[in-house]
Symmetry: C2
Subunit: 442 residues, 2 copies
Amino acid sequence: MVNLQYGVEVTSLYPKSEEERHMQIIKRRMIGEELTEEEISTLITCINQDQLNDIEVAGFLFSQQLHKMSVKEIVAMTRAMAETGNKIDFPGVVNDKHSIGGVPGNKVTLLIVPILAAAGLLIPKTCSRAITSPSGTADTMEVLAGVEFQSEELVEMVTKTNGIIVEANVDISPVDPKIIKVEHFLGINPESMMIASILAKKLSMGVDNLVLDIPTESIKVKNLEEGRRIARKMVRIGKDLQIQIEAGLTYGGQPVGDCIGPALEAREAITALKTKGAYADSLIEKSTALAGMLLDMNGKTPRGQGKALARSILTSGKAHSKMMEIIEVQGGNPKQSDEISVGPYKYELKTTKGGYITQVDNLKLNRIAITAGAPKDKGAGIEIGGKRGDKLKQGGLLLRIHAEKEKKLDRAVQMAKKITPILVHGMLLERITITESYTCSE
Amino acid sequence: MVNLQYGVEVTSLYPKSEEERHMQIIKRRMIGEELTEEEISTLITCINQDQLNDIEVAGFLFSQQLHKMSVKEIVAMTRAMAETGNKIDFPGVVNDKHSIGGVPGNKVTLLIVPILAAAGLLIPKTCSRAITSPSGTADTMEVLAGVEFQSEELVEMVTKTNGIIVEANVDISPVDPKIIKVEHFLGINPESMMIASILAKKLSMGVDNLVLDIPTESIKVKNLEEGRRIARKMVRIGKDLQIQIEAGLTYGGQPVGDCIGPALEAREAITALKTKGAYADSLIEKSTALAGMLLDMNGKTPRGQGKALARSILTSGKAHSKMMEIIEVQGGNPKQSDEISVGPYKYELKTTKGGYITQVDNLKLNRIAITAGAPKDKGAGIEIGGKRGDKLKQGGLLLRIHAEKEKKLDRAVQMAKKITPILVHGMLLERITITESYTCSE
């Protein structure tokens, strides 16, 4: 007789071989048992050494969906993941900012790093490429400079500029891409794995102070309540890992700034830096708020006053100069940052009626930008014509789609016309009249 | 033994006297029985002749909350209510616009009537004073001219100007205030009674074409779905009453225009007319959309094109001239419409931080305006500094409160500071850090 609990054969809980022992640990987690530090470490090490097959990794991930991991388990998993790779020692207090994602156009890193570096803080920012979005920060930064470096190079570069924006190195938490591969295949991302994946890299980079950006009403976090819960958990776990974490719950209900896609986002960030904050309101607002939190945490400003300092660094032009240094140290040409080329094929979608923007859909905008070619085609993406509450006249710009290939532009335009990512309404939303077919007996 | 159904004694369903017979009808409705046309007519007639006491009227209203009335019952009730008063015969096709309310600052009637009258349509608009809001249209119009007239006078006035804006006459559905008195006391307003109350007055005024304004996301109608349901029901009932009804579902999530309170609203409407539509965007937008529907229904324009004509009547200045005629025929002084005095005591509430307006609360704004003295003190009310999505700098105006009496201003200011009707946020909504007291074991 097969005794099933949560679809798991309980009879197979008594393993016969070493291989079976790993599966047994996973099965115990699947029926709700808390694992020990050692058991979690064993699993992570085995995944890293390719000793678990995809089905076993899937089982481990699935167990985290079924039964939430305890703080103790997540801390153990984070440590184990960090231990699969190298730890880099930077000379001084290491700062970092991390967004859990879910909001398009979130190019704040390209403003926050130069602001903080100009203030004298050490911020060796590692970031990732897009997995499901139109542009990861690594994709965006790559428009301006190189992003792939060896661990030794990072220390050298940071010593020169205080700040860098590079892709997370292969030496850093190498188990991570192996787990992400299975997550991506299954279409799941358990919260515990998301947290461990983020914080393992911070441990490896020796991060002391971390500001977490948690966009709410976004693709990933539904509302403020949900954001608060995740924030509290991560702050708490940070304490055990001896990383000082503060979380900023931000508004993620529509894109940050107006541009989505690697080259368009890079251009928007550089413009914001160059015009000293006169352009791209929501982008400036969010970047200075988060940078300000790190200035506070480092004692550069009294608590709550970091944002004003961040803004003054931006308006003084120091952040722009610092960004030019960063581009140079990463092998880019600062002068070319003024002439970022975007996709030559473009199409403007306009509103057929005047009114107010009542909806801007993050997911739909992402789909259109990806269809246009982003992130692979760096010049592909979207510029939006407004945000919620903005007034558009008849014929006003809803969005401008850029592509590097004509065919991809066509496909993106067709999609945009069909799924209407931006809705415009007058004060009159709908008109109801009697029709022959209609009967109301209520 | 007392046999109770929905709290009603079933044994008392067999009446002994004439008075008991009325109560018996009400009790049958309370346990879910549909009443006949004759029974409903009896009840309405008795209420009008003060033959039912308040408890009996309350029971009849309560029965409508317990069990929704059928279309047939509402039609019968509407006819019975209209028959309690006079019917006025206007010479020609009679047009009307009616808002079911629930959105502050809704002074659209003061634009719609002159636009339609200038287009040659007959629109003898009757309106009511505020019951629970800071200003009914009758209160607002009274700032500019008289609003109380005899039935005979109405016909004479409309013959001269095509349009008037007056208080619903005492001869029109006189049972209505008697029912409203009990509704107000109980704090209920059953949907069937709301519909019958509105349409009985339209029957009495001989209305042929009616545009209903149904503000959604408002105090009264939660969302579009709910608005659609009410709209369909009223359009359907209109058919039985031989009134051609079209309903406009409008956006009622925040005030229409920027002003709330009789004199402030009158001033805003006159400014919008005088500047030919250059001012008060949402007000113009909504007024022309609704006026346009009536132009369509009268065949003045092809379907869907009435709004453009309405706007051209506004921008030509004809609507303003017509409003001056209307003020004059109602015994007001058109010249004084340029110098409407508002409450001399005022206070500006400013935002202590810059950011975006994320919430504008209709109910809270109403409470503050009423505390400041509206609608009794005509000059009392509120001007708001922005709508959702607008950006405010630090120190930017949230709202300006006007009052005629210093004491009332003080109370309104205290309330406004406490209940914060308008919220401003940056992109950073909240900052979460670890505190000694906080433990997260999840």
